[in-house]
Subunit: 250 residues, 2 copies
Amino acid sequence: MNKPNPLVNVRVVLSHTSHPGNIGAAARAMKTMGLTHLTLINPRLFPDPQAEAMAAGADDVLRNAVVCNSLDEALSGVVFVVGMSARVRDISQEVLPPREAMPILAQHAQQPVALLFGTEMSGLTNDELARCQLMVRIPVNPDFSSLNLAAAVQLVSYELRLAIGEGDCGAPTINPAPAEMVEGYFQQLEKTLVEIEFMNGKHPTKLMQKLRRLYSRARLEAEEINILRGILSLTTDYHGKLKQRVNKNV
Amino acid sequence: MNKPNPLVNVRVVLSHTSHPGNIGAAARAMKTMGLTHLTLINPRLFPDPQAEAMAAGADDVLRNAVVCNSLDEALSGVVFVVGMSARVRDISQEVLPPREAMPILAQHAQQPVALLFGTEMSGLTNDELARCQLMVRIPVNPDFSSLNLAAAVQLVSYELRLAIGEGDCGAPTINPAPAEMVEGYFQQLEKTLVEIEFMNGKHPTKLMQKLRRLYSRARLEAEEINILRGILSLTTDYHGKLKQRVNKNV
């Protein structure tokens, strides 16, 4: 049996959103991070072509969005509510940054949980605040804290995705070659540098140390070592041929 | 002397951006995280009213944006280039998620560094890729990886802000009251519950354990304890008055 995906239990609740474009952009942001359940409390305009345009390929999130008339309806069945706080307010409620708050939300996401976002202009109302068990605030430039609603949804969804352990970016990683192979390269490099008279073979230590430092930092892979050794071999060959010619002409 | 802010050395470079709205939204995203230097390589339309509209209050970032004709010009003076990779590509370059890549960028940001973003449709060209010392890829839903350009700028700028140690969300924290004060509350609570005959005083342990668990989890603050003890005192008073009346009537 597969482990249930906790993201299916996360409801993103947007309260009284003014701009339909923000609803669409929020849907797109959610979907990029694997969130699908959007709930709207009294949106000013929805459905709307602007929402669809901004959703790009996340039109399924919009299509399945639940439109509610009240906070009670939006939070029905939800066991844990995290509210987004855009401003420092006079509240005694605990406020955490997303990196600390999302692992807590993830813990509770075996059952339905909600991320509650207020309006673009004024954030959450006091009644909405009172329903949150935890507040989250995104660290921002104190001189310009004007985060777009969809940007806030994006950042929090991203942190939630990382919190459930889906932080793998599916990227190729470096596979460093085994030590003896790297060492073989350095031996050939040194031999070559002496041969082409770049080093005199008397005090090669310092220069070789520098070259070792460079290539160690790059963490050479097997294929790269093969390429570099191929270059060295041809360098030696070429140098050998040149020497032969020089000797003939003498 | 103040420590220099490494964010002033970070150049966000957008290459061949198609939609001016994305340039504006990227400027806004940058500024919320404290980034100010925007460089544009051959933008399709710039300056443009759509860019200004999407920048909201970040019009200074747009006004100071440097428009270039070539990658060389955009990267002039830059010592470290991090490229944004939207897709898994056939590259052997190292790719890290933003959480690992941004601390590395921050390390180098004593001197000018760049974050390079390709076009909305196709990302970075091979020539651009070749100029990056490190690639970064945002972990996304593999079934819907369509991150908006400004959303990518937002996430990476956020991680950079956290990487330089500006992850404080300026939030009120809980100040738990000292142990003796919490204990004083539990003593009064138990006494009151016996007095109002909610507990019989014989087996109070189990119930008190549950109540202690609840309040411990909430990490009571001094002011909250004062409120709770005030409620308990009035409960006892009220109960006492009722008893007196009952006794008079008997």
